[in-house]
Symmetry: C2
Subunit: 424 residues, 2 copies
């Protein structure tokens, strides 16, 4: 195998290092991989890894794409402009492609599937695109075809899980932990993609295709981030609900057979396997007819975990063990996507205290078809700044949203209620 690599940064460097370190073992297993060219923006920049002997830096895409000796392209540059050119042209030229680019796959899945259908000899692998070092792609492509998935949910963003774990374990507030994550280099200067759930949005879109055969426009997946969570929410979750809060990507088959997909912070019981996953670690938990409940836990990012996923794909390619990249939807009527899923919900109200508020909550819940499971209220220290929590019974998201919209109009409501589903 002769490889051309686009992107010589953190992940690319990791791939080069792993292939050198594990070279003897891989050769012993009949695998001989040569990285011939690495396409970078600045070939003279000093890198933190050694170039393999015989490998050169190039700066033009075509130096790789037009090289007939290169049979496999690694796209590790990220983004959806240059990366799209590279991936699509490589496929058109009959080169196998391995990519870590979730945004590209999620945004251009239809075009990719069409192009791969026109180039049936091309292998396309993307283990590193979701869950960093967690082999969720290969597991969905290998273990789950004979099974029927009913729910898939997981922590798929290390930056936000680092932040939420700090908020849960140390009582820190959102602004503090964001600054700390930025100082440590975990969060970008513009943290929007992470904290508003857009990174998870692309990942869950890819997993939905693999688990259900259903293609989703990621931009249409209802997505809420973590920026409105406060330390009060973590205190309520922990003290009153023996739970914590995690940002989850979720896909689930509803009771009526529809499919709901969303990204949202969720209240997760501490004794659920997801509730114990802290720091930058990620987890995907799958509920299914045969396997009941399975979880994969591991590093969701980082040089070597992500690079290992790329090397797994190289290994499967070298061993001619590549899965079909995107399974068709099963026969029969297509799954209907519904954004209105049922769950128990946590609703945090922010008010200036006064008479009759609980009565109004009761009335608004009744009017919107929301049944109240519990109302939680810690000691009030300032009557002008009170947060209390309503936990609902199982109800539709639209019902809770309607109730919250109505409550937001009340004169004593200081900020719109924050609601999130509770994992069970």
């Amino acid at each position: 195998m002769v490889v051309g690599m686009f992107g010589g940064g953190v992940v690319g460097g990791g791939v080069v290092e792993i292939l050198q370190r594990e070279c003897a073992k891989l050769k012993h297993r009949g695998i001989d991989i040569t990285v011939k060219k690495i396409c970078v923006r600045d070939a003279s920049k000093k890198r933190d890894y050694e170039l393999p002997s015989g490998c050169t830096y190039v700066t033009n895409y075509d130096d790789i794409l037009e090289d007939p000796e290169i049979d496999t392209v690694l796209e590790l540059m990220g983004g959806t402009t240059g990366a799209k050119d590279v991936v699509f042209k490589a496929i058109e030229k009959g080169k196998n492609v391995i990519t870590a680019n979730k945004a590209l796959i999620a945004a251009f899945m239809t075009e990719l599937i069409d192009l791969l259908a026109k180039n049936p000899s091309v292998k396309f692998l993307y283990e590193a695109a979701v869950g960093g070092g967690i082999p969720i792609i290969n597991t969905l492509q290998s273990t789950f075809p004979p099974d029927s998935v009913t729910r898939m949910c997981g922590i798929m963003n290390g930056t936000t899980n680092f932040m939420l774990s700090k908020m849960a374990l140390e009582g820190a507030d959102y602004g503090e932990v964001l600054k700390e994550a930025q100082d440590l280099g975990f969060a970008e200067a513009d943290p929007t993609a992470d904290v508003e759930g857009l990174d998870v949005q692309a990942k869950i879109a890819i997993l939905v295709k693999l688990a259900f055969g259903t293609q989703m426009d990621p931009a249409k997946i209802p997505t809420k981030g973590i920026s409105k969570l406060t330390s009060d929410d973590f205190a309520y979750a922990k003290t009153s609900l023996q739970s914590t809060i995690k940002l989850l990507g979720v896909a689930m088959i509803n009771a009526d057979g529809t499919l709901s997909v969303f990204v949202s912070p969720m209240v997760v019981p501490l004794n659920h396997v997801i509730g114990g996953v802290n720091g930058a670690t990620n987890i995907v938990t799958i509920t299914s007819d045969n396997l009941v409940e399975s979880s994969l836990v591991g590093q969701g990012a980082g040089r070597f975990p992500t690079a290992n996923s790329v090397c797994q794909d190289l290994y499967l390619l070298a061993k001619d063990r590549c899965p079909a990249p995107f399974p068709d939807a099963p026969p029969g009527p297509a799954l209907v996507v519904s954004s209105d899923f049922a769950s128990r919900f946590y609703v945090r109200m922010h008010i200036k205290d006064g008479m009759g508020i609980i009565k109004t909550v009761g009335e608004l819940c009744e009017q919107n078809g929301v049944s109240i499971h519990a109302i939680l209220q810690t000691d009030i220290t300032d009557v002008n700044d009170v947060k209390f929590v309503v936990c609902t019974e199982q109800c539709k998201e639209s019902a809770v949203a309607g109730m919250c919209d109505a409550f937001a109009k009340m004169p004593y409501c200081l900020s719109p209620p924050l609601y999130m589903p509770m994992l069970s």
Copy 2:
């Protein structure tokens, strides 16, 4: 694919049911599997699943082995006598084999590897042999080849984890939980294979081959069971060490480069991912150079989880995506196996109280090269029946064993000390 199945019991019935339920989806993916014959002891026995149309029960091995139409044999009968005949003859006849039989693979790995080398066209798969529904075999064969594993440990027996979880969460004693597990059908009338760790012994032997390329005689793996644990141990673990006790299969590279493999109850911190896995759920946690720490969590037994693993193998076979079953050891000097691993240890002493005992513990530890980290003693209610705990610093297992042997000879020692490694 035309399949002949040996064993029509719990797992076999599950395979038949899954293939029927998921038939349309699998056919849509180009997979057409016919189960032609099921070999059982009593063909007239009523079963809890429907026979696929065209499938018949047979009672002679040769009805399947000599049927040239059958290209794939599922061995789901268990045991190592009849099952060995069936598996070896099927391979000799050029039929692909899928088996769930950990004992067979662990005990006859050398012969199997030789036979498969002589029949290179035969595919041999065994996902169901370890971890029930957890895809640990395929993950080790796909994700870890470019990585270097340094430690692998896990809960690999659902029966004992059910028992240990009850002891930890309810304070129950060993005899009670064993009886409950037997009443519920989780534990056999003769529970030896489970509670003495022999089931885990076979499983860790298989995982060692996959992770390190090293072949181990399972009978030579140091193995301790759970039958000597008492409720005192769980109380000490929980209260003084924020830990619980799990029966683990462990394989690890020591500081001197040797490989230690053992089965033992271990003290596991509650905030470690393994510490939160309760009931019949299993987990395998792998520490490695690239992926840092990865865990697979799922159902370790049961009809559909185990049958799904068999169906995964059927799927990979149908898709021509089979891994090489047993990787060679990597080039270079072979790993040396050493039974004398280093760890921190929990040592529980059982004594009649008296003067100078702690002094003796100190002397014996010093003589044996064991450094004491802490001595734990809850309130004494009966001076004639006292249990206290010594936690050691990192030391060799042989040193702790020597210290315990010496302490067992003391006149006030009521039963030999129980020691187990502490997971860190």
